[in-house]
Point group: C2
Chain length 499, copies 2
């Protein structure tokens, strides 16, 4: 066999392991009996370790070296594959094995410590762990090397290849200028929607039926996926023909299931529509966290919160919970599901205030790695920023800096993806309108096929064959631009609140 | 690390692979989306291949040799583990790799050929495959070596360690003497039960509720398992804390789900109650096909068909399908669910005629490997035996010799386990009565705990730490004895049919 064939064979073997690990995770989260979990976790650990060993093996190193030395002889898929695998290989190999092992132990202890600290709202309990994690991450950045003169870029690039603080500073700055005053105006507006009917009982079985119907409308392929229930919704691509989603049914707030399902559907449509030619290779995956999030947010916000979407689906919604919507007009629903109110907890935030939560985390992370902030000072910095951007201040660190697990797990550079995805989505939407000027009409007719086709053609099918900013450039003709999201939010909320 | 520790580490690693493969199989059969199946099958193939490689690796060979040379230094669990692993190792290593590979290809082609042949009821289409499979199996027996002077014993031993044609000839002979005349008398009896109400509609959701309730009664631990739906019911032990069962709901015949569930429950209780000390080792499994089947049949026949079991559960049954049982007395149900009638298809046979189907297959397999029968003559031999034992003759080979897939897959020596399990179960039941003389009363009170405890104490907890006949000897004080099953069937059917 040629080196190419051996390389692909090794990758496909790794893909089998990764498929096994994915299905075991899915199973643990959707219904595995609890007494089987300890043995299951060990099994997952064993297979993950084997997978890691293969990824940094001498065999792998040999292939990467040979193929890397003659890139001009590789077809485009193999070329991209070599680059992607090499990137991961280097990330792993540049850290001394013993230091990496210590870091894994540290983050695991740190997550436990965080859990207790959060419950007790006691930052001091978590402080020594966070300090060590930050120190180690700084050391790792030293091994990996700074990107474009900024240590934080090294972390950003791991989740969003090609993304830099220069770009983010600019787009977040622009976005902030629109959102902060909007939020303030809304808070002060006397024109608040009635949301009381949202919290009436909507039976779980009916939410399930509604979710299934919406998924079918949007083009989710049930022959290549399934919908289950979990505490925390997620989408998982096990292979291109098996992309599962889960949702959460709250009988006293149907929005959780409806928008959760649509959000995960956006993630799933991305992975269901990757070109089958890429199957079994590492390039058969979303190209970045941000682009992945752009697809989920595109569906959640630009389709699921579209007025015509609800014109089309209001009867269906009512039929699944008739009492709840008695005397409620479509317009009431539209106002209620788009309510905006500053809040302290990121995962409960609405679509207008959400980006502010992200900006705060971004600014803090950048400050940490650029040496502007000391870890011990972070709670105060956090609280000040909430007051500045959202006009509210956490009463304690439990509802402040301790609310998210990311830092305890050593994930820095991940948060920005959430807001980047939102901006990508808005920008893609404007580009889509050029090809589908009848977008609203399509939503009003429940004709979502052309929307999915467009996204598949411009985003999905490529998998990792294009970088995030390449997709944006090729599709919209420019780099990331915050204007589109700013315009969208501004127009939408001005209208909704009659500002 | 010591050799012992290295050996156990390798086995636990294999156990992780095997856990992954089990969960992937379970998933494929219970609800994996169909478009993901090709990639999933490849992943299962990859992991199974790796598992096989480990099982015959030089590393494994080295451990087995060293530990086999100093068995007196091993603790009982490790000693048994070495013996079990060595047995499998030898089975695999004695066949030249290329011949084994060819055999795998042959059986795979043969299964496809069988499928078509069965559909067309055309034995000639299947004949060349079956001849090759038999010839190859004979060659393999040559490699493995004859057991106790009989080539067929070599095959029996793979499913039922220690079992020989001498033992089976005796017990099957004894059983036949009871069953054949009984079946004849019943066929000629004018006292046939009314079974018409069995086939009335029993809604699936209610069958599900009933199944769950029965499982709880019998002691199935839902924290260590779950019940799902499949076309062919099965139980699968993923680890000791995760033993899942599936059943099939036929709305026009509730017996399928009820007795299917109880049968699989018997298998599952076995694996849920293996001593946790054995977890992760190959000895943490049922000791043989026959003993496994003894547990499923114990529950299906001796509990699930017990008169008092239904006294206790009749109200529950009625409440789940009130119309169906209007005007039906408990006695009618008992007679109907115990109806016996000779039939041609093994998997549809009742509990009285079932052993005859097994005996026919056993006699034919023995005849093949002892050189008494030629493959080409088998259809005629098959049909003659059905006429002799059951008084009916297949009209074609589709409902005759082609009905089962086992031989197409190269499984010879497996069939007897079904009837052995039945005899083990009857023998265990009589032994249990000495400790639990109030067995019927327990069933009548829905108090199944003591029954499960007894089986755990005498059978389940040992896993593979005892051989099948060792369990029977230790528990009942004698070897396998067909008398108990013969007596049970004789007494039961004489009473039911007023013979």
């Amino acid at each position: 066999m040629s080196t190419e064939e051996n390389f692909v064979a090794l990758l496909k073997k790794m893909s089998a392991y990764s498929e096994a690990v994915s299905i075991m995770y899915w199973d643990m989260r959707t219904g595995a009996p609890k007494k089987g979990i300890p043995a299951r976790s060990e099994a997952v650990g064993t297979l993950s370790t084997e997978l890691f060993k293969m990824s940094v093996s001498e065999e792998m190193g040999g292939y990467l070296e040979e193929l890397g030395n003659r890139k001009d002889t590789l077809n485009p898929i193999l070329l991209k594959t070599v680059e992607e695998v090499k990137k991961e290989y280097d990330l792993s190999k540049k850290i001394p094995a013993e230091e990496y092992r210590e870091f894994v132990v540290l983050t695991s202890q740190s997550e436990s410590a965080w859990e207790e600290a959060k419950e007790k709202a006691d930052f001091d309990m978590f402080l020594p762990y966070l300090e060590k994690i930050v120190a180690t991450t700084k050391k790792f950045i030293g091994y990996w090397g700074e990107k474009d003169g900024n240590p934080y870029n090294t972390l950003l690039d791991q989740y969003e290849p090609g993304m830099t603080t220069d770009i983010i500073d600019e787009v977040f700055g622009q976005l902030k200028e629109t959102i902060v005053p909007l939020v303030k105006k809304i808070s002060e507006s006397g024109n608040q929607p009635d949301t009381s009917f949202l919290f009436k009982k909507f039976p779980k079985e009916n939410q399930k039926a509604f979710s299934h119907e919406i998924l079918k409308q949007l083009g989710y392929d049930f022959d290549a996926g399934r919908l289950d229930e979990t505490v925390h919704p997620f989408a998982t691509g096990i292979n291109i023909g098996d992309v599962r989603i889960t949702t959460k049914y709250d009988e006293n707030d149907f929005r959780s299931a409806v928008f959760g399902t649509i959000h995960e559907c956006g993630h799933a449509l991305y992975e269901q529509n990757i070109d089958l030619e890429l199957e079994g290779l590492p390039v058969a995956d979303g190209t970045s966290m941000g682009i992945h999030e752009s697809q989920s947010l595109f569906y959640e916000q630009f389709v699921g919160h579209n007025e015509n979407f609800w014109t089309y689906n209001f009867d269906l919604l009512k039929s699944q919970s008739p009492e709840q919507f008695e005397g409620v007009a479509l317009e009431d629903v539209l106002r209620a599901i788009n309510v905006s109110k500053p809040s302290l907890i990121r995962i409960e935030a609405d679509e207008l205030t959400y980006p502010l939560h992200i900006m705060i985390r971004y600014e803090i992370e950048k400050g940490i790695f650029n040496g502007d902030y000391e870890v011990v000072d972070l709670p105060e910095i956090w609280n000040d920023k909430y007051e500045e951007y959202l006009g509210i201040r956490p009463k304690n660190n439990g509802e402040g800096i301790l609310q998210d697990v990311h830092w305890a797990g050593g994930s820095f550079g991940y948060f920005p993806s959430y807001a980047l995805g939102y901006m990508y989505a808005a920008q893609l939407k404007v580009a889509m309108l050029k090809d589908l000027p009848n977008f609203d009409e399509l939503c009003g007719n429940g004709d979502f096929g052309p929307i999915l086709d467009w996204l598949t053609e411009h985003v999905h099918k490529y998998g990792k064959m294009k970088q995030p900013l390449e997709i944006i450039k090729d599709t919209t003709g420019e780099g990331l631009n915050a204007k589109y999201l700013a315009d969208y939010l501004s127009e939408k909320y001005t209208k909704l609140y009659n500002l």
